[in-house]
């Protein structure tokens, strides 16, 4: 049985102590990925004054009395702030900390970007597997939405749920595809004009019906099992596309064709996709170059930009009546080392942090922790609290915990992985 087949067996919105009775609409997930590896000592995991750790304080200008690093507590969450370099961090937590859970000390078990990204997003170290955004979108959307999930970053993993998910393109090329009348011009001297043909609605409907009939015939030709699954992907893709196209004009309005992507524009797109009920999950890139090997001082600006964007995102979600139903997960694939290297940058560190935002969350909490060597402390997976008899929170437990929190049974996707239930406690 393919994993997708299991969808039918997985009860949607399985009872969760936090969610039951609280939902006022369909569950949605927005994953914001800080690709490159953020330095959590600049924000989520205060280590000011800890011997051996060079946090944000090493960048302070002694001549500027305002340029100081402090630990402020927002609704019970200690956060490192700096009014000069990262004012948006304090603003964000001042506004939203009550809906926030910070997760520290997630063991990633690697220090290379690609494998760490796969681990944090999928909960698996290897294999062709879907990420939590794709799984959640597929299960939460089912057949109700044209797409289960959308990868607006290019960073995601579709696995065997590829037929449920869509991509936007690095520079929003999806706009070109959804709007048949739009096109880049042909090169000089090239003997073609675009669009060469604009099918009518009836043309496309007839073509789709023709293709569907042909696929149904082909489906049986090479037996069951894999053969049927491949053809099922074809049919499902056609079906989803057919439901997506009528929403094209509204989607295209949110796409900035040919422009370098920004967090703000892709977050806007994500909210529109939610409003139109195109998808139930979206994966975004923070679009900031967090991999600061050569100059770690750049982390200040990236944090300020990210949290400025998150603050606007949360306000927009609220304004657009999506806050009640949307879980926002902000994560990076790894952390950065305790001290700076010879280029005053920092290298990779295999313990990650994350941020979960949800109005229905028992917020204002820090789940998990690190010691003064920036290693995760053991926790009790069931409660999420520190427990010397427990184990460090692994990337697989974390991914399973996210799915569980969203009401998606993680077992079919992360078979045998103990579920971290910190978010639900």
């Amino acid at each position: 049985m393919r994993r997708r087949d299991l969808l039918r067996a997985v009860p949607l919105l399985a009872a969760s102590p936090v969610l039951s009775g609280a939902a006022t609409g369909p569950r949605r997930l927005m994953v914001v990925f800080a690709s490159g590896g953020w330095d959590s000592t600049y924000c989520l995991d205060p280590k000011l004054g800890v011997v051996g750790i060079e946090g944000p304080e090493v960048d302070s200008d002694p001549g500027d009395p305002q340029d100081v690093e402090v630990v402020e507590t927002f609704d019970g969450i200690p956060i490192v702030t700096n009014p000069v370099r990262r004012p948006a961090v304090a603003t964000f937590f001042g506004n939203w900390a009550r809906y926030v859970a910070v997760v520290n000390g997630i063991w990633v078990g690697n220090i290379a970007h690609a494998p760490c990204r796969q681990r944090m997003l999928t909960g698996r170290a290897s294999g062709v597997v879907p990420d939590v955004s794709v799984i959640a979108g597929s299960v939460l959307g089912g057949d109700a939405t044209p797409l289960g999930s959308v990868d607006a970053s290019g960073l995601g993993y579709a696995g065997d749920l590829a037929a449920t998910t869509g991509r936007v393109g690095r520079q929003s090329q999806l706009a070109l595809l959804l709007d048949p009348s739009s096109s880049f011009p042909p090169p000089f001297g090239w003997d073609a004009n675009y669009p060469g043909f604009l099918p009518t609605f009836d043309d496309e409907a007839a073509a789709t019906a023709f293709l569907r009939r042909r696929a149904e015939v082909a489906e049986g030709l090479r037996g069951g099992g894999h053969a049927m699954a491949r053809m099922a992907d074809y049919g499902e893709s056609l079906n989803r596309l057919e439901r997506l196209v009528p929403m094209a004009a509204e989607i295209v309005r949110e796409l900035s064709l040919g422009a370098d992507p920004s967090f703000a524009t892709t977050a806007g797109l994500a909210m529109t996709l939610f409003e139109l009920d195109v998808a139930r999950s979206v994966l975004l890139d923070s679009n900031l170059p967090w991999d600061t090997h050569a100059s770690n001082v750049l982390q200040h600006g990236y944090y300020d930009s990210l949290f400025g964007g998150l603050n606007e995102l949360m306000a927009s979600l609220d304004e657009r009546n999506l806050l009640e139903t949307t879980t926002v997960v902000v994560m990076s694939e790894m952390n950065r080392t305790l001290r700076r290297n010879r280029s005053l940058g920092k290298d990779h560190w295999p313990w990650a942090s994350a941020l979960i935002l949800d109005k229905r969350l028992n917020g204002g909490r820090v789940l998990g922790s690190t010691n003064d060597l920036m290693e995760g402390n053991a926790i009790d997976l069931a409660s999420g609290v520190e427990d010397v008899l427990g184990i460090p929170l692994g990337y697989d437990n974390f991914a399973a915990g996210l799915l569980d929190f969203l009401g998606v049974d993680p077992e079919p996707w992360l078979e045998g992985v103990p579920v971290w239930r910190g978010l639900s406690s």
């Binding site: 393109g169 880049f184 011009p185 043909f197 073509a207 037996g223 053809m231 290693e375």
Partner: protein, 563 residues
Amino acid sequence: MWLLFAALSCDDPPVATSLTSDERVNRVSMAIRGVRPSADELEVVRHGGDAALSALVDGWLASDAFGATIRDLHNELFLLRSDLVPMLPEEGPLVGTEVADRYASTTESALRLVEDIVLGGRPYTEIVTATDFRGDRILANVYGLEFDDDGEDLQAMTWMDGRPMAGVLSDSEMWRRHVSNGSNFHRGRAAMVAQALLCDDFEDRDVVVEGGVDLTNELLVAEMVATQPSCVGCHQTLDPLAGFFWGFKEQLMGLAVTQAYREGCHWPNDLELPPPDGGLPEDFCYPLRLFAPEHELGWMDWGLREPGYYGESASGLDELGKRIAEDPRFWDCTTRRFASFFRQQDIDELNVADVARWRKAYLDSGFDARELVRAVVLDAEFVDPGDGPLSWLAVRPEAHARAIEQLTGFRWRAAPADQGCLENCWRDVDLLTTDLYGFRAMAGGVDSTYVLRATNTMTPTRALVHMRAGYESAAYVVKADLAAAVGERRLLGDWETAAPPTLTRRTIASLYERILGERIDPDGAEADAAFALFDGTRDVSGPEAGWTLLTATLLRDARMEYY
């Protein structure tokens, strides 16, 4: 009785039928070349059977299209075709060149070397021992290589900066793409080589940093990786491999070249500051100085392990190449990488006995990769897959683009730069095989920067890409065909506006055979359905629109998407 019949018909999966002769020819042709077989080729195998298919494969393995497939395979392995990062700028000797040409010249050099070795029938092991490669004027200008302006566009060339010659291991673009960051000391490059060529995946392993080892203290790290038990397991082999790459700069990005030109390509003499780490500004102006022999022993400065190959002492990239070429793990890994690509399976999913069989064919041929490909694609399971994992294979974006061009003469090219671009503008982009403006990763391919693994099945976005590509290419070929003389047409044969229905049906049957490799009865039910699709639009919008709609629809048929 009725209940039993109902139960059987609902619950029993369909039984797989063997592939027809046409389906086999199409499958092998698409796998090897990414293009459809001709009507003649289909006919030859119908009569000649497996022997005729084998003979056809001989020719296909010598074709340019197979060479393109070999480049595609190695791009998925080496991840070189990335247009999402800033390209080398139009400066100095590159003024007047197009960014698309600079992209192709640089990213294809290693891929072309592999193609030349494979198509030339040379031992595949030469990809890590070759002493020269082919490049164009742009590549020569970028790296200061000899080039005869009166000669061919692509000429044999070799590195002139003292680097040891070791095929793709010496290729500059490999190490511009696979950088070394911070205190990585080329370990990432070593891991990439081990993973791609030896199937030894260091990055798959768990990394346990015990006791708070400070990874930024290079000297401490050097000591720990040699003594700490949790580190030694990987680093005793990884670090000596990394030791071979010290002659290369850690990185040399396009933006650094732009910056160097802004600074006048020299380090000001009046500055008493030391030059920036990694070299002088002049290193970042053309010809780029990516390799410096004097840095090859840099590992000594950090107390790291000396270069070595899995416990054997060695020095220099050329020796690394020789060790890899002689390593049975390389032979085995090559077998698995090729099989994985053609069968669209993870290397871990391959059957051990199958791998042994293909490996034997490869070794018996003296490392001729063409024989390896032949063994894989003529394997019984490949040509008669039943309902197993090979039942339907998905066409890759690059192959899809080739098939579309072969059938319609159309490449979906565009000039996005005309829309307000001022610097390093792309004025001629192939939309199906690139990502900055195009749709390669959206259609299931890799972009080599973010999307590192192909998606070998249908997706909604891919369906959308192919829908648009289908309409554009169909419009192009139908318009051209209807304007051309009968004998010069690609798809529409001798059809004329006043043609009787019988001729229209014959043309439809011919379209099926040409595009899908499928023979249908011109008077049968399938032709009826196609005729209805054609006729519905012809009645409203005319025959050109009717043919365009039908052709575009066949170009995204399930049998075009899968083979």
